[in-house]
């Protein structure tokens, strides 16, 4: 199973990481090397095995459904590359 340029471009698009056209093939080769190494898991018989979904079995705690935090928008946007009036700002999305 080789990762062709289209496939790498598709993964990059899903991951929202810009990849230049010339880098698609080398990245494909690199990812391919890792993916063929992890193919070894196919040797393991996992029929009737439930996937592990939590590391420690514990019953999640419950708490009262109350607002216990918040009320400081200036802290929330303090690290934003661009903010105005207590909001994050982004490039215009709707014309």
């Amino acid at each position: 199973m080789a990762l062709d340029k289209d496939k790498v471009a598709h993964i990059a698009r899903l991951a929202r990481i810009r990849v230049e056209d010339k880098d698609l093939a080398p990245i494909g080769k690199e990812l391919d090397q890792i993916l063929s190494w992890i193919e070894q898991l196919n040797e393991v018989d996992t029929a009737d095995i439930a996937p592990m979904t939590s590391v420690v079995s514990l019953k999640l705690k419950r708490r009262a459904d109350q607002v216990t935090d918040g009320g400081y928008p200036e802290k929330i946007v303090a690290n934003a590359p661009a903010a105005a009036h207590g909001y994050f700002t982004v490039p215009k999305v709707i014309e």
Partner: protein
Amino acid sequence: MAALTDLSLAAARDGLAKKKFSAREIAEAHIKAVEGARGLNAFITETPEKALTMAAQSDARIAKGEARPLDGIPLAIKDLFCTEGVLTTAASHILDGYTPQYESTVTSNLWRDGAVMVGKTNLDEFAMGSSNMTSYYGPVESPWRREGDNRPLVPGGSSGGSAAAVSARLALGATGTDTGGSIRQPASFCGIVGLKPTYGRCSRWGIVAFASSLDQAGPFARDVRDTAILMRTMAGHDPKDSTSVDLPVPDYEATLDGGVKGLKIGIPKEYRVDGMPAEIEKLWSQGIEWLKAEGAEIREISLPHTKYALATYYIVAPAEASSNLARYDGVRFGLRVDGDSLDDMYARTRAAGFGAEVRRRVMIGTYVLSAGYYDAYYLKAQKVRALIARDFDQAFGQVDAILTPTAPSAAFAIGDKMDDPIAMYLNDVFTVPASLAGLPALSLPAGLSGDGLPLGLHLIGRAFDEATVLRAARTIEKAAGFTARPGAAS
């Protein structure tokens, strides 16, 4: 009297209580040591002023007879823990200038108990690496050198800066995080003790997330007692992390010297991997002899799915990372690279902000979670992970702790293994299985390689039984009498 930077944490604590020296004096000695060791690149941010302020508060409490358990103890904090008002980078370009508005729970616990922060330590970018070479801030140099060879060595990773700082006497202890070996492997490479507690023992709140089902915070120190002291403060339930467990935190120091008489120690035969260096094999056998001589019962055990742990890890961890790292989008914090559209801004920001290894893992993770591949990769890995955890469950029916080597080699030179990701991943072959099963595991220095580098032994315990791991480690520590120290630090 020994230099203040050379004391154990316990000795510093006791000396402070007896007013042999002040918290300010200890802080100043460490600030000076940090400045003198800048060549190691162990710190991303030094916080001398904060250290002096915190030390003054400690001195005031000690004077009033209100000393807290860690008052005046200088610690280095891995730059993956959010620290209020202090730059926090995860060693990534994408977190440029990020100054948290809140404090992580683990560091809050340390400050609550009086500890003093000397700085934020370097690491592999987003804790992804085993060499500290993927940091945006440049590699960390280990304070150790091979005998007769001055080439700089890696401190291991990802918590390389923390391990180097403790080893080089720049702090009495440090925090690390461990996802697949990121505390234990650098502890082994730097000749110090590192403990990854049970998943759920420490709160993950305020720690920059890598792989949420694997990440755990834990302490580094120069001996087992100091590790036990730090562990007690760092641990505990936190309502802000629903996976942190509400169990009492034992006084690990109090039970440290209980010995191993009657304890059953498992030796997993699958850890005798092909090509294991003779000196690692020898150290392992020596560790077995030390425990046996103190009355432990040694049993060979089988963990049959061990050989699949690394491949499982390299599906699960990148998958979780690809999801966790989706938050770095140029909107809420850190770097933004403008683009033609919102989507283009995301893609350009992430291409510029993430280093090569992080991009590689995010893409692998995206692929194994993507439509059509989820079952073949991610679900399969979660099933194999269940088998690996079951292996341990069965083993702990027969034994109380498991002894293995920590890493398949001593530290390697800076720049080595960089062209082959899988060769780098193999560093974690002995540490990853316990991570996948969420079990507590500790590395302690037990001997030197032929060329004079530290080698670690690795103890794995039952879930939430850090106490037994520490007790067995203390027994090995006494037998090993490891006193070697790094040349470059003196």
